[in-house]
Amino acid sequence: MAQGANMKCAVRAVAGRAFEDILDGYFPLSESVRQMMVRHGFTSMWITVLHAPVMTLKGLAPTDPVPFSLPKTYAGMIEHMALGAASSDNRVHLVGVGNWFWVDGRDEVDTFPPSTRLGEPAFVRGIGIGEADAEAGTRMSVALARLDPSEPIDRELEAATRRLGWQASRAWRFETGVPAIRRSDDRDVPSSLFGRAVGTDKLSREVASLPASASLSDWDHVLVDVSPDHPDRDALEFAQRL
């Protein structure tokens, strides 16, 4: 990994893009995420979900089809959730942080089961990382970073952005500490959901590209290029909406 002289974080550009789409409703969350990744050709993905109704149908296995009408159910709402997803062998592994509630008196627990079904389709925005390697010389719009926890986060992200050769970026922290979707606390919301805006005026571009099999588990931040000189205006627009 490339290391800057005065920074300790690791950063790698990857073949990815900001995007928005709709998760299918009524299926288990993990299945809807898996299908979305297949549609876009992503191997890894980071998304945010807001105000999405959810339900747990009593006696209905995750592989069972969606019933015609709502039987005995526990209904609730994801208020906000930031999810990291990685697929392998046609399965998807979800980690993340979020907040949710149940309206029908279900016991509250601190992890959100990925088998929970969405109560209706859910609009999401996020960043996907694809299978294909980027062509040599192509400007990459997405990067993964692992920050040194002993250093100030803003300084680390600014240095990472500079090394990527970007004028500006936005960065989100994703969950690596627990193998689940956990309930967020106040500290999570700014960094995991809304992200941080990072700007720099000194560019160095000294970052290598990551090969196709990028795994989120080695990293703790995802960055997207929002430089005013971004050559792909559509990509920039999607990134700015995140």
Binding site: I22, G25, P53, M55, L70, A75, M77, F123
Partner: protein, 408 residues
Amino acid sequence: MISQKLNDQITRIGPGTPAGAVLRRYWQPAALVDELQEQRPIVPVNLLGERLALTRDENGKFVLKQRVASVDEPPIYYPDSDAIDIVEDGPTYPVVEKKGIFFAYMGPGDAPDFPNFDCFRAPDSHVFAFKGLWECNWLQALEVGIDPSHASFLHRFLQDDDPADSYGKQFRDKAAHTDMPMTQVLREYPRPDLQVEETDFGLKITALRHMQNDLTHVRVTNQIFPEAICIPMSREMIITQWHVPIDDENCYWYTIFTSFAKPVNKELMREQRLKEHRLPDYAPLKNRSNNYHYDPEEQDTLTYTGMGLDINVHDQWAVEGQGRIQDRTREHLGRGDAAIVRYRLMLRKAIKAVENNKEDALPMRNGSVADLVGPLSNDAIASTHDWKEASWQADMKRRADCPWDASV
């Protein structure tokens, strides 16, 4: 397929309800100016679950005041002026008159500015307002209007009329600059690709119908938060339509028809619509009680519904047929319902913002609302590769040819 509690959260609008609190942060159409007549100086208004009356205050300004009503009063009760008693110590709401409609503000604090949309900018000669009753919840009424696919089925005409006879009628004009009737476009290309973008005022919804010879029909419609739509009616006119709750189980649509080039023929527009509605409550003559004048022979030869040529009746049947409040525990939305999904997200965000006293987070409740113009709302047929530019240019040409300032 959401639970009853979550359905109640987004549908019920009485005082103290989450969705009602959001709607009360916006100007609401309360009555048509046509309703206020010499023999009717006080107009009954049934709005957001409250029994009100349009009258004047001691300074002669129009206001809404609470009126005396029995608990078993029918939802659409429309007493004569001399039968209206005002509750003197009841709430009073400010009213402004805009383009044939009295708008009321029933929320806390200062009322927001009006956006400078075409329907409010056009001179009085180029607008016409009307309303009609639908006996169902306001949300299902709105949601049919933000589903661009439904027109290819619900409003399917099996034969095409002469577009020369299309004045004042939806979907009966030629499509864009071609000789193809809109009815043919909708019928032959029933599965549009949809693009939905969030805007400062709500949603921009683009339906792309990919045709033969590398041509694409582009139809741009809009959702104006919280409960209005702005859609093209013909090459000449657009429709801005609010779905205004009377109570949880009834609503009025209020429409401002806005013409770009020529003044609106108001007499003809009024005559066309009064043939379909009774006064004074603007209840539709075709309704649930008479099976919407359903005619199986017409359905076999002329229309998808068999309910006549007025598409408003088709929509009315479709949304009233879902029940007084649509049972969303039995609903299955797909990705083709993209605009409905995006709208409900906006509504739930707004409910949360009001609960947290963050009213600045509501659409059109901060910043320069009066600077909002447009919105772009038209039909165009273009080469598939440059449909976006062609759609924009078609709208710009219509605005440039317009005698009033429709610049954006």
